[in-house]
């Protein structure tokens, strides 16, 4: 497909963007933790689906919390184990930096191991409530909607549920093994809109709800469309 140029009508992608619907079922594992030492042991032993559930999946179901909520491990360490400094370190892990669960697990374990090594007196202190390790079982289905143009892409994104938007925008990193998302990947590689793709990838999911993140994405795409309308005055690109 031809590279896009400003002022030229947008091309039609050879490879369409295929929208999916996704749903998660939570499975309760037989692992739980009542102390930081047990949390570390659980983090080392639990399945990848469990790490995914308590980090990627929980951010999706708590997307409306845009201040101070990052993942279940950090929340438990804060509210039940009452260890603020460790909670901050765990909360600071940004899932967008990870393209594999193994790397995320390593960093979670490292943070807890370092802390309990430094403060061994807290390692076996009983938390108020236990932490229960769960797992996500993912079901994906084609939404029955494809996009070959920016217009079709725009209308498809508008129709996505929260879970489907999150699936394409955040959890896609684990599938792609790239530091990007399905939307940016397709816009850059199939429509040649690299700058738009980068701007979309910069949208901060931790300080936005899924609705506001989607609204920002749609605004960026609308702006791109206007750039390609010859009669329209071009606007400067805005920071996200």
């Amino acid at each position: 497909m031809e590279e896009q140029k400003r002022g030229v009508t947008l091309e039609i992608a050879e490879t369409p963007f295929e929208f999916f619907t996704v749903a998660h079922l939570t499975r309760i594992s037989n692992l739980s933790a009542g102390t930081l030492a047990e949390l570390l042991s659980g983090l080392e032993q639990c399945s990848d689906a469990s790490i995914f559930h308590h980090t990627f999946q929980t951010l999706s179901s708590h997307h409306f919390l845009t201040e101070g909520f990052s993942n279940d491990f950090a929340q438990w360490v804060l509210a039940d184990a009452n260890r603020d400094a460790l909670a901050e370190q765990l909360a600071a892990l940004d899932i967008r930096d990870y393209t594999s669960i193994a790397a995320l697990r390593d960093d979670l374990c490292h943070a807890v191991r370092e802390y309990t090594g430094q403060y061994p007196e807290f390692a076996h202190q009983q938390a108020l409530e236990r932490f229960y390790f769960c797992e996500s079982v993912e079901v994906t289905l084609p939404f029955g909607l494809n996009a070959r143009t920016l217009d079709e892409f725009l209308s498809g994104v508008k129709r996505l549920s929260h879970a489907a938007f999150y699936f394409h925008f955040i959890s896609s990193r684990l599938r792609l093994h790239l530091g990007t998302n399905d939307f940016s990947h397709w816009l850059a590689n199939s429509l040649g809109l690299k700058h738009l793709a980068e701007n979309i990838n910069r949208i901060d999911i931790y300080t936005n709800t899924l609705d506001s993140a989607r609204a920002k994405l749609l605004r960026l795409v609308e702006r791109e469309r206007r750039k390609h309308e010859p009669s329209t005055i071009r606007e400067p690109s805005a920071a996200v």
């Binding site: 079922l25 037989n30 739980s32 101070g68 509210a79 108020l128 229960y132 129709r159 549920s161």
Partner: protein, 418 residues
């Protein structure tokens, strides 16, 4: 056609005004591969109680999505329901002396229902312990049987659990309302939260005039802060503790307390608790103790909507859906960190958790002093319920469960073919 007749059917499209068109479209997409598949839900009552309330909404919605779903209710004599009530309490950890005759009664009524209920659907979901014995109808490879447990099994009476586990272990999976309610089992355990219906009388939007009318009916001043706990007059809901917390708050704020629950006239223990509460509340005209009729959803709705802060100071709790009801109405909630409450109240995000009378009083004072924080908690609480505890989420979880089981069946079949 389900053997249970539904009083009213709310079309799925009505929920679009609550959750949006995209979420409705998602439900339709998930249901498409399940069109025509047979599902059977079995429980022990068609009316009264949270399970019947939930099935009354869930089954017609699943039917509208194209599933061939029916809801069967098992039958039993008084002796059966006495035994299962004793089992229920024992599974909650209350004292129970094992009696072989009880186990015989349980087996006998499950046996009778095995002959009466056609348990031939592809997906069979058995709710709670009463019909758990119906698993004997399962034929290997024909259908997928799931046990849906709505009660807290974290500290069960050993004898009752050992008896029940003999049946539960034969299912292909169990569903619990909260991870801490589950047992260590060899079968897969799934998490499906209970849910509220945003369009029911208990949760629907109300005209402000009606809310004011309810306040006037009970002589509640709308101009001063109203603290409310809606619950039975039950020691485990700690109404006396709520009054004590209010009495501490009262030193700092001119506020009122509303304790509203069903009538305790036919419940000896409830009547005793009510007497105790009236005793500690005596002489304070700002404490309103309301014995509501057995079914007064609109009044409960109005009282929750009129509240400044909703309290749920339980000593023990199941899931505690009254918390979700309050959060749905954007109310700041101060609640005990017990049972399923911390799943709904994420401390400092969707409400405040407390562990004592003093802690409850402190969190109420804090929120009365910082109304902007109270408003934010209420807003976030509403979003939390919208994402996780609505009947439409419940429906989505069941669809996902059936799709997952379906995928496993296909995997098993393709493995056999290899």
């Amino acid at each position: 056609m389900s053997p249970v007749q539904f009083a009213s059917r709310v079309p799925l499209s009505d929920y679009a005004s609550v959750i949006g068109d995209a979420e409705i479209e998602e439900l339709r997409t998930l249901a498409k591969p399940l069109a025509g598949r047979t599902v059977e839900m079995v429980n022990s009552t068609a009316v009264g109680g949270g399970v019947a309330e939930m099935l009354n909404r869930l089954v017609p919605l699943a039917e509208e999505l194209g599933l061939n779903i029916r809801w069967e209710v098992m039958t039993g004599g008084e002796d059966f329901f006495e035994v299962t009530k004793a089992f229920h309490n024992a599974l909650h950890g209350e004292p129970y002396h094992a009696d072989a005759r009880h186990f015989d009664v349980f087996r006998s009524y499950n046996g009778l229902n095995l002959k009466r209920i056609p348990l031939d659907a592809e997906f069979v979901v058995i709710h709670d312990p009463q019909p758990a014995g119906l698993i004997q109808a399962r034929k290997n490879g024909k259908s997928r049987w799931i046990w849906r447990c709505h009660i807290d099994l974290s500290h069960p009476n050993r004898a009752v659990w050992d008896f029940l586990e003999g049946y539960v272990s034969k299912y292909e999976g169990a569903i619990f309302s909260s991870p801490q309610f589950a047992r260590q089992l060899d079968i897969p355990q799934y998490l499906i939260h209970p849910a509220i219906d945003p369009l029911s009388e208990k949760n629907q939007e109300l005209e402000p005039e009606f809310v004011m009318e309810v306040l006037a009916r009970y002589s509640i001043d709308p101009l001063r802060p109203i603290l409310t706990q809606i619950s039975r007059f039950d020691r485990l809901k700690d109404p006396v503790g709520v009054v004590r917390a209010y009495q501490i708050v009262r030193r700092y704020f001119d506020c009122q307390l509303v304790l509203a629950g069903g009538s305790a006239s036919d419940d000896p223990e409830g009547a005793e608790v009510l007497r105790e509460v009236k005793g500690v509340a005596e002489g304070d005209p700002d404490i309103k103790i309301l014995e509501l009729p057995a079914w007064a959803p609109l009044e409960v709705n109005a009282l929750q909507r009129a509240s400044t802060i909703v309290i749920q100071k339980s000593l023990r709790e199941g899931f505690g859906l009254t918390v979700s009801e309050a959060l749905w109405k954007k109310k700041p909630v101060v609640a005990s960190a017990v049972g399923g409450i911390p799943t709904q109240v994420i401390h400092k995000h969707t409400g405040m958790l407390a562990h004592s009378v003093e802690g409850t009083a402190y969190q109420i004072r804090f929120l009365l002093s910082h109304p902007e924080i109270a408003t934010r908690l209420g807003e976030q609480g509403h979003q939390h319920v919208k994402e996780n505890f609505l009947i439409t989420n419940n429906l989505k979880r069941y669809l996902t469960l059936f799709l997952t089981l379906n995928r496993e069946t296909k995997d098993r079949q393709s493995y056999r073919l290899r």
